[in-house]
């Protein structure tokens, strides 16, 4: 069993964990981060997309609001290219016409220092013509939307540049707890490489639990009780940008009261339901219906537009000694649990709660505390250190169209809906450890448009297959999977820019440049994920999962065409190697009958995932 040593071990590859790894590495610590699937597999990859101005919480949860506006200002610098500067409106709909909330809202914004300007309704309607014309007041705030996939990858790239090692597809199975000297101490963790099935021991002076909604499960491994209140939220994505500004209802936070324009879509969200298991989330019909009904209040007619898909995430809410019923009442403020003082467990911290918007601050607090315990004084540097790529400035909706036009790449598209070129896909696969197509979706937005993978899935599988085949002829370096993953280039700063991925040079040079880096498990013929049949099946299943809850009207028409392509023409439900599974096959499979769990399949040569 390989053993790795480090000063700080971070558990969880969401925004918070990535932030902790970045912060700690910048302060000069040796860092290893482990994530059980791809980066942003957790809530970070399933959130609503909003860089909060704080407006949403300003009346109910001013502490969280103050954190948000503070971080909003910083992220616009450090992660500029991950953010679209949409701006945000808080609008008073007829339902709230009589309420005193708007005045309290405005006063509270002033108090906390959230820039908030009331603008004429006519002006708002000019900028957002589909907005409900019956609104009575509009406040403008510095909300924005952000690509959390890109932001987390960029943070991780920055962490790696500062020396951190990032192990994705490595799942913590046990914490190394030492009970000698009459004192409990966490000394690292035992993790399983989900691709090879191998166990790895990681020894660390300090273990930081950033496992979000799973933080309770991790803490339990050390014998600490952390009662996360998992609040599930469902979001519904509409096929295109019906609004281009974040639209919030000016009232106490509730269900379905925000519409966020993010990349090519708008998302209506969210619900907030206590759930038992953060991993297997069901989207209930009433949730989708409620989102559309509430959406109607902001944009009348929206429920008749085309719905693209639905997804759900779980808030890692935490409040010490919370006894209430409704997870809406739990604070959105961050929670740093100091296990040495709280539970008498040395070498262990949990950082949870908070928002995506506040991940950097959460990391700062956690690493500050780690410094104290490790007896060193090193100031936090993240607030003044832009991640690679930030120099591009904020992204804007049309940038891909523009770049494709400039470089004349229309003929190179693999995913036509989201404008992903072949070179973007190949570079993402070469520069990131890639286990499933879904990993590439997060990197470049593959399959995220109207046809939901209908036309790009088979193309992308073919391209990866070709890459892997070319690569197999190259000499294999006998490194351990950990080395391979940790050593991959992780160049993500320009992952999303078609114009930065243009092949030039002779055909031979182009061919050579296509060879995958050592890091991609796709290239390792021993792993089941190098199997194109499995890649195809997994990705179709993953896309299907989000479409099922919205299967009517135009999206149903689309799925019929996709069905004809994959089931009618390609016979994709009877592909060879049916017994194979990737680390995510179980996760993608789902059962639509209420109250039952999916049977799942057992990965060949590895244990069945023990997540449920």
């Amino acid at each position: 069993m390989p053993t790795l040593e480090t000063e700080i071990l971070v558990i969880g590859g969401g925004a918070t964990g990535a932030g902790v790894a970045w912060d700690a590495a910048l302060r000069g610590f040796q860092v290893i981060l482990v994530e059980k699937r791809d980066l942003t597999h957790g809530t970070t990859g399933r959130y609503h997309g909003l860089v909060h101005s704080g407006g949403r919480y300003v009346v109910k949860d001013p502490k969280s609001a103050a954190e948000c506006i503070h971080e909003n200002r910083i992220l616009r610098r450090t992660h500029a290219h991950c953010i679209e500067d949409t701006g945000g409106f808080f609008v008073v709909t007829p339902e709230e016409a009589e309420s005193d909330y708007p005045d309290r809202f405005q006063a509270a914004c002033d108090e906390i220092g959230i820039p908030c300007t009331e603008i004429p309704v006519a002006e708002a309607l000019r900028r957002e013509p589909l907005l409900n014309p019956r609104i009575s007041r509009v406040f403008e705030v510095p909300d924005a939307s952000a690509d959390s996939f890109l932001a987390t990858h960029a943070t991780v790239q920055a962490a790696r540049m500062a020396g951190a090692r990032i192990l994705i597809y490595h799942q913590v199975e046990a914490l190394l707890v030492d009970e000698s000297n009459g004192q409990r101490r966490v000394q690292g963790a035992q993790v399983r490489d989900m691709v090879s099935g191998e166990l790895v021991t990681i020894r660390a002076d300090m273990t930081i639990n950033a496992a979000g909604a799973w933080a309770g499960q991790i803490a339990a491994l050390a014998g600490a009780e952390v009662r996360i209140i998992p609040g599930k939220g469902t979001m519904v994505a509409m096929n295109h940008r019906l609004v281009n500004t974040v639209i919030n209802r000016c009232k106490m936070p509730s269900d379905g009261d925000i519409i966020v324009p993010i990349h090519t879509i708008v998302a209506i969200g969210t619900t907030d339901e206590k759930v038992a298991d953060p991993e297997n989330l069901r989207i209930e019909p009433w949730e989708v219906q409620l989102m559309l009904e509430e959406g109607e209040k902001l944009v009348p007619g929206i429920s008749r537009a085309r719905v693209l898909r639905a997804w759900a995430g779980v808030r890692p809410l935490y409040q010490e000694n919370f006894t209430g019923q409704d997870s809406r009442d739990v604070t959105r403020s961050l929670a740093l649990l100091d296990h040495p003082s709280r539970d008498g467990i040395q070498g262990f911290l949990t950082i949870t709660g908070g928002k995506w918007t506040t991940f950097r601050m959460m990391a700062e607090k956690a690493v500050d505390r780690a410094c104290q315990h490790l007896g060193v004084e090193r100031p936090c540097r993240t607030a003044d250190t832009p991640v690679p790529g930030a120099e591009q400035g904020h992204y804007w909706l049309g940038h891909r169209l523009h770049e494709i036009e400039e470089a004349r790449l229309q003929g190179e598209l693999v995913c036509e809906c989201e404008l992903v070129t072949r070179a973007m896909l190949e570079d993402a696969a070469r520069n990131n450890p890639t286990v499933t197509l879904d990993d590439l979706r997060r990197d470049v937005r593959l399959g995220m448009g109207p046809c939901q993978g209908g036309f790009c899935t088979y193309r992308a599988v073919g391209i990866l297959h070709e890459l892997a085949a070319e690569n197999r002829t190259a000499p294999v370096t006998p490194e351990s999977p950990q080395e391979e993953i940790a050593n991959s280039p992780w160049e993500v700063a320009y992952l999303q820019s078609p114009g930065r991925h243009v092949r030039t040079g002779s055909p031979q040079e182009v061919l050579e440049s296509k060879v995958l880096g050592p890091a991609s498990p796709v290239t390792d013929p021993r792993t089941p994920v190098s199997n194109p049949n499995l890649l195809l099946r997994d990705f179709l299943q993953e896309r299907w999962k989000g479409v099922v809850p919205v299967l009517w009207g135009r999206q149903l028409k689309q799925e019929r065409l996709d069905e004809l392509i994959y089931l009618g023409v390609m016979n994709a439900d009877h592909l060879p190697d049916e017994e194979l599974a990737s680390p995510l096959t179980d996760f993608y499979l789902f059962d639509t009958t209420p109250g039952e769990t999916s049977p799942g399949t057992t990965p060949s040569g590895q244990e069945k995932e023990a997540s449920a």
Binding site: P129, T264, L401, P450
Partner: protein, 425 residues
């Protein structure tokens, strides 16, 4: 800046299922790499150029000729050509419009200007030196088939001149002549009047102006809107009073029927009344025929016993009316006519598209399908086509004369000289 509403054509992008049928039919995408095709430029790109965004970042959409073949074949009803036209309009709004396009858009103004001294104007425009200059200075292709001003006065002047001979009747129909008939081809209007009178209708020609299409297709939406409002003010009343408004220019009638209201987001009662009252002339004649009211007193067009081979091309704008091919149906009633229906997608010219120097080669390549079709019809010495610019392009590409179907019909009634192109009264 044109804003969005739930009626806007842009929102039809939601219907797209990405099937690519439009792309495989688009005649422009087939012949040039400069245009990425209807799906790409239409419903796909539209998701990236929403309201309020800083730019319309894809200028290649300008290579869409507006022929609407894509709309025809799309199985889900995406208004692709209109989405493209709106994208172009936004480009124009942001970056201004080249003088050339402004000129081509001012069909009516040019027509009027040339009509003061048509001989001189023709000479000035049609000599090789000025065509080279026109290409160099404003970018109008030197080979492109520009029309000649009528040297016998405008169509309305003819109406006035012959007013004592015009039929008076209780049955009345309004004629929309369009700029081409007014300034370049008054004989088309004469043929229409002959046909309508033959059927017992009095022809009213109230004051009217350009339908605005050339401006719509060059992205000058504000100007187009002024023209459209002019027509609504002058003609909607006739529609409301129950008079049919018929036209011989398939693109003008399409504009009144749907392009203008749709692209300009016009939901007002005037636009709607005009829309409801407007007919393509053959569409209307077909109705007449269905009611048994059409005079079928035809004589053969060729003097000898030989059948007249006549290749017929329905212009793309005509197909966009979605009324079938009424001209073909009516012409087939004429004895001795050997009609050969073209299935070519487009002649290439697409309004003013083929006049633009950079687009001329594209237009000629697009037209190849049609030119080859005509060449394959042995014995054909003349062609028929409903739209003026398409006829000019057909003549340019085949070196055979081309006529409007209404001319054949009028000739079959014995009231029109097909050769010399004038009414026989």
């Amino acid at each position: 800046m044109h804003t969005i509403s739930w009626h806007s054509v842009e929102l039809t992008l939601d219907e797209c299922i990405k099937c690519n049928i439009c792309t495989s039919y688009c005649p422009v995408a087939e012949v040039t790499d400069l245009f990425a095709g209807p799906k790409y430029s239409g419903p796909q790109a539209q998701r990236f150029r929403e309201n309020g965004q800083p730019h319309s970042p894809d200028h290649s959409v300008d290579y869409c000729s507006g022929c609407r073949v894509c709309n025809d074949v799309c199985p889900t009803g995406v208004r692709i050509a209109e989405i493209n036209a709106k994208a172009r309009a936004q480009m124009v709004a942001e970056h201004g419009i080249p003088l050339r396009n402004r000129l081509l858009g001012r069909n009516e103004l040019l027509g009027k200007a040339g009509s003061f001294a048509p001989h001189l104007a023709n000479l000035a425009l049609h000599n090789p030196v000025s065509r080279v200059l026109a290409e160099k200075v404003v970018g109008i292709a030197r080979e492109a088939p520009l029309p000649r001003w009528s040297t016998e006065g405008t169509f309305s002047a003819w109406m006035k001149r012959t007013r004592h001979r015009r039929l008076r009747s209780d049955k009345k129909v309004v004629y929309f002549h369009g700029c081409a008939t007014q300034y370049y081809e008054p004989f088309i209007g004469q043929a229409a009047v002959m046909v309508l009178e033959q059927n017992g209708y009095e022809v009213l020609v109230p004051p009217q102006n350009c339908c605005g299409l050339p401006m719509l297709s060059n992205g000058e939406f504000d100007a187009a809107e002024r023209y459209h409002r002019g027509n609504v003010a002058r003609l909607a009343g006739f529609g409301l009073a129950g008079y049919p408004i018929v036209g011989t220019s398939t693109s003008c009638t399409l504009t009144l029927k749907e392009e203008a209201p749709e692209l300009l987001d016009k939901e007002d009662p005037g636009s709607q009344a005009l829309k409801q009252a407007t007919w393509d002339i053959f569409e209307w004649l077909r109705e007449l025929h269905a009611e048994g009211q059409l005079s079928t007193d035809f004589r053969p067009l060729s003097p000898d016993e030989e059948r007249l081979v006549l290749p017929y091309h329905a212009p793309c704008q005509y197909r966009a009316h979605r009324i079938g091919k009424p001209a073909l149906e009516i012409l087939s009633l004429i004895p001795g006519l050997d009609l050969r229906e073209s299935h070519a997608r487009c002649c290439g010219i697409a309004g003013t598209y083929g006049y633009k120097a950079e687009k001329y080669p594209v237009a000629m390549d697009v037209g190849r399908e049609l030119f080859d079709f005509v060449a394959a019809q042995s014995g054909a010495e003349i062609t028929a086509c409903d739209s003026e610019t398409c006829r000019w392009q057909l003549e340019h590409g085949t070196h055979l004369p081309s006529r409007h179907p209404i001319e054949f019909l009028a000739a079959a009634y014995g009231r029109y000289d097909l050769e010399r192109r004038r009414a026989v009264e």
